[in-house]
């Protein structure tokens, strides 16, 4: 019986094209989902044509005409009822079985997966690599099974990689996981699919599928930037990789949070009416205790990075923000910067 069921698997095959009309291009050579999708599409289309075809035929054939009356026909027929009960039961049974088998293949991670950790927060992805590097994009070696173990720092998020046909919610206070094998090197979309607030639609990342050698080289290099780069450039990387960029622009446009352009050293009006000079300590406080002083006109929505960034990270970020004010005519008074730097490093 199962052999017969399995052969139905192939019905969807001729229609299954990765990067066809209905589904995006796949990064895996075995998108089990696609066959089931096209199998259901074929069944759906046939059933729809049957119902709407019959309806249209009756509508035309038995339209109300002068002088013609409705004919008396049987008002019930057990055989007919049984037919249109049993056939749909068999059809949905087949669909259920196919969907379940493919799902179990998708759920069951093979032994020896390459493990990565994922941490989601409003509104950024953080991919944590075995050597401790944290990146805002997901790099994976091609052809190897990869398992993501995920958790959220605030609300529920959802990780979706359409090209790999995987999706799983990322829930605070517990771990969920997905596994996949990406075969084709290239860049693919990764999206948040569980609604998570103001910048939900900005919570995107890229999946970089690389050959093993490229991946290893990238990881070695990526882990090092704080030591090898000047602080302002390291800060720029942190700004992009740790989720600052989703809310704070560097071109002066206001996002969910204020722009970083030209703010350093300036006096800013806060939501409670006070004025505060944006200096090293203010930035440090805003990273660690974001709700302490909110710039007027913005919502208190940022969550803390306490324990998630090192002192060196903060210093680098301050240097980066400072570098965005270098060309500003209203440059901060020198003494303020000096004082800030001394304490900002916190050593």
């Amino acid at each position: 019986m199962f052999a017969a069921l399995d052969s139905i698997w192939h019905v969807g095959l001729p229609f299954a094209q990765t990067d066809g009309f209905w589904l995006p291009g796949a990064a895996t050579t075995d998108p089990a989902m696609d066959r089931v999708f096209y199998l259901i599409l074929v069944i759906c289309s046939l059933l729809f044509l049957l119902v709407v075809g019959l309806m249209t035929f009756f509508l035309v054939r038995y339209r109300r005409l002068p002088g013609r009356k409705a004919e008396k026909t049987a008002t019930q027929n057990i055989l007919l009822e049984a037919t249109w009960t049993v056939i749909p039961v068999v059809i949905v049974g087949v669909i259920f079985y196919q969907g379940f088998v493919a799902y179990m293949r998708m759920q069951t991670a093979p032994p020896g997966c390459y493990d990565l950790r994922v941490s989601a927060r409003q509104w950024a992805w953080q991919f944590i690599y075995p050597n401790g590097h944290i990146d805002d994009n997901l790099h994976v070696p091609a052809g190897e099974p990869v398992r993501l173990t995920m958790t959220s720092e605030d609300v529920i998020h959802g990780l979706w990689i359409p090209a790999l046909r995987v999706k799983m919610d990322v829930v605070p206070g517990r771990y969920t996981s997905v596994w996949f094998r990406a075969d084709k090197p290239g860049a693919y979309d990764l999206l948040c699919t569980e609604y998570c607030g103001d910048e939900h639609s900005s919570m995107l990342a890229t999946v970089e599928v690389q050959t093993r050698e490229d991946y290893d080289a990238w990881l070695k290099d990526a882990a090092n930037y704080l030591k090898t780069l000047p602080p302002a450039e390291a800060g720029k990387l942190l700004y992009k990789r740790r989720g600052c960029a989703q809310c704070h622009s560097t071109d002066g446009t206001a996002g969910t949070g204020p722009s970083f352009l030209g703010i350093f050293g300036k006096s800013q009006k806060m939501a409670d009416g006070r004025s505060v000079i944006i200096d090293d300590n203010y930035i440090r406080e805003s990273i660690l205790e974001p709700q302490a002083k909110i710039v007027a006109g913005y919502q208190p929505v940022m969550s803390t990075y306490k324990g998630l960034v090192s002192d060196d990270d903060i210093t680098a970020l301050i240097e980066f923000i400072k570098s965005l004010s270098k060309k500003s005519p209203l440059r901060a008074p020198t003494h303020s910067v000096d004082r800030g730097e001394g304490q900002g490093v916190g050593k």
């Binding site: 709407v52 009356k69 026909t73 009822e81 249109w84 259920f96 999706k167 939900h200």
Partner: protein
Amino acid sequence: MDMMVSSPTPPKSYLVDPPGLRSWLLTRDHKRIGLMFLAVISASLALGATFALLIRTELTFPGPTIVSTGHIYNRLFTLHGTIMIFLFIIPSMPASLGNFVLPLMLGAKDVAFPRLNLASLYLYVGGLIFFLLVLVLGGVDTGWTFYAPYSTSTAAPVVLAVVGVFILGFSSIFTGINFLVTIHTMRPPGMGWFRMPLFLWALYGTAIIQVLATPILAITLLLLAVERTVGIGIFDPALGGDPILFQHFFWFYSHPAVYIMILPAMGIVTEVICVFSRKHIFGYKFIAYSSLAIALIGFLVWGHHMFVSGQSPLVGMIFSALTFAVAIPSAIKVFNWLATMYKGSIGLAPPMCFSLMFIALFGIGGLTGLFLGSLVTNVHVHDTAFVVAHFHYTMAGGALMGFLAGLYYWWPKMTGRMYNLAQGQISAVLIFVGFNFTYFPQFIVGSRGMPRRYFDYTRLLDTHPEFTFYQILSTAGGFLFVGGLVMVAFVLLRSLFVGRKAPANPWGAATLEWQCSSPPPHENPPAPANVGDCYVFDDFCFDESAQGYVKVP
């Protein structure tokens, strides 16, 4: 002309007897309560549709179009969803059309608890006021699903919205209790369970869900409010709670609730197809029992909303199987409707147009449900525009079309006026074309990679440049769809002023509500001593002088 009311001076209609505003506001007459429900529900539909157009306009082009931030957009889709579901679809058919028709169909004086019925209306208005308050205070941004811990941590006035839904829930429970008791105890002698019009079976199934499922939503939302106000950890993991628990509680109500929305529509379609095909219903018992089956199995499928929430694959498998089981009774109904049309004499007045549209659109909605019930495909399309398209095909293509079919069907009875049939048909065509242009493209973008609840899809365009084209189609369709709804309002309201007086039985139906004058008198006429088969139309002949059907003894 009228068999039931043959006294020399026909009694005045319920619309003017007793007279005065006070008599309307304190009425216990189910007909007036139904009509007032219709008015407030239609206002809610207009509000919900306005938000729908704002959402569609925003999504037409990538990047900010008419609103500047996701902050505002998220409020738009939340208000659209909560208003459409809690203020429009759930009460739409039971509380307005059902309230008006149910006692008349039974030949009963009123529903079993007329005061409870009026309380239900005022609770609805109370809930509506809470929603207006939320609107004034800047709206909520949780989505209609109120998922924790987002809903327990956002700054928006979630508690107000939740209290509004809580109150609306009781309005729904009161209607359900009333219908259950009325159907059980007030059927006339001679009308056994299997002599009832099938619309009443549908309302009966609906009432079971309203009474059994709504309290779960009420307690869930109460827990949410308690967590927000006094910080007791139930759902938020930061307080020791479990956010998945919220989803189980929420969908334990909200999945059965979609059958509160669709069952009455199926009931209306059943009545309309028989009357306009001039045919006895085919497979009465199968349609009746399938209403009950949908109501009962509907309670056991909530987990299919949570296949990617982290629940175990075993639980997922069970819910997937049960989900496919609930598809069967719906399929049975559709085939029985088709068999009813076979060799009929099919007229295409507006109620029939909308019923046929129901079959086609709900067909697409139901069949695309197979993608969502199947585990592996669900994973890919979950939380995408594909799901948005699917549930709009079932809820708007199904429930709303059923509501409009019923509205066009019973309007002459409720108001005593006939509308222009051709104009009604044009409104149906506008809605059908607009609807498909709105939602079909969303299936395509959804399965290709467009998530739902996305304010801005600019960054998806690198890999999917085709999205903008589909979004433009969808928005254009949306305006046509709403244009069709405006036309429905125009056609019906116009009839109040220029429509000819409605005959007692304009469609030739055999159910009891058509055997009294249009509009009915204040006192419902009692059921005849011998209630016949309500699907035999042989005795009803079109009478030119009355412009309606009369019963030939």
